[in-house]
Symmetry: C2
Subunit: 224 residues, 2 copies
Amino acid sequence: MADRKTRRPSCTIDVVLLTAVGSQLAVLLCRAPEGREKWIVPWDAQRPQETMEGSATRIAKAASVGEPAWLEQVGAFGDGKRHPAESEISVAYAGLVPMGTPSPVGGVYAWFTLSDVPQLAPRQRLILDGAVTMIRGRMDQSPVAFRLLQQMFTLTELQQMYELLLGKRLHKASFRRALQAAWLVEPTDEWRSEGRGRPAQLYRYAPRKRRPAQRGIRLDLLSS
Amino acid sequence: MADRKTRRPSCTIDVVLLTAVGSQLAVLLCRAPEGREKWIVPWDAQRPQETMEGSATRIAKAASVGEPAWLEQVGAFGDGKRHPAESEISVAYAGLVPMGTPSPVGGVYAWFTLSDVPQLAPRQRLILDGAVTMIRGRMDQSPVAFRLLQQMFTLTELQQMYELLLGKRLHKASFRRALQAAWLVEPTDEWRSEGRGRPAQLYRYAPRKRRPAQRGIRLDLLSS
DNA sequence: TCAATAGTGTCTGTTAGACATTATGGA
DNA sequence: TCCATAATGTCTAACAGACACTATTGA
């Protein structure tokens, strides 16, 4: 947001950084130095010689949560909805940050769980909702759940992440069977003991090429 | 593309109109009056007081194929890739036109099957690929197949459309069972006789609310 | 009549979900 | 020891895919 004092940009890049906090998704917001709302989704104008994804990466890094583990464009937003930059349109990106990443210091940035998000400019509210919808919808095409976890994780943590994203409980044995069939993870020889109970083996994300065989067409999900 | 003579726009709206021709997808291109490529994806600058989707609808109508039966944003494209308008970015939309819609006359617009698409400006090539990928990926969330068919269709036509979009053969009995379970279509009392063979009953798209029950998580599709 | 296509019934191998059981640590 | 959690084996109902069959038209 370094260009806020320069002329009004025609297009901004807005970055919705998401992580998991407890059993909820959380978004990184930035304290607004001016304007009607107190918090904003981080944004900036695109710089010369910079790709849009490059801008998004830079904005994410400036939020001092490091480079996001995953980044993808959500789309273009505008249509007269108000934005902190008063730009005509905004190109929104969604980024994932592994849970447990140290919170940014200084109080300029802060994580808000989705149920606690303060009022935002209308366009940024749409952008946030669009980013969350996209993340939830991309789960079965991209390793979204894995990008929200640390590099090593227990299968219970992975299942809880899927439950968080899907918004429903999953069956443990079925989940693990599906995981085995999909060749997505490999066990490490480390274990983690969490309070009482048997320690859990740690796994890492290691997708393998598979036969493209799969059963069925799923028309179920279609009626929306 | 009425604004081509005005100042270079910072942002264009590009519209990828798709239909089915035989057993292939086809895209509507416009003859280019100038520039390196002979054909372009229809585009124009956004007009004042117009939403982006409004612009896309207008551009589609100008291509004289009527209002598309379905329209959705693909995303923003730019990143220095060349575009007929030399604009910084383009917001791309994908639209579906029912197959059998009379071809636009005059020779300015023409349908090209995906395997016969001529050379396009690099950004427009990316836009086209992105639109096709999005359509194929949205099949199970939007009634994409139905928007490519006339309002009334036979189940064989519907199955062929799914096969076209999925790029693989489907099993007839299973397809119909899945269709019945999904409550997506309802029979009309009309029949259509096509050459020899028993006439087929015509159906229409009529989604019904269903129980949210469905089996399984499909991690299969995940390994990319 | 034959050929061609529409539409349906039945069987079978696979698998999601349920349940039970074992394994292994902490209190 | 008891309890809590991890991990796995077994059973069953549901379903995808295969096959066969009937139905109905045109040639």
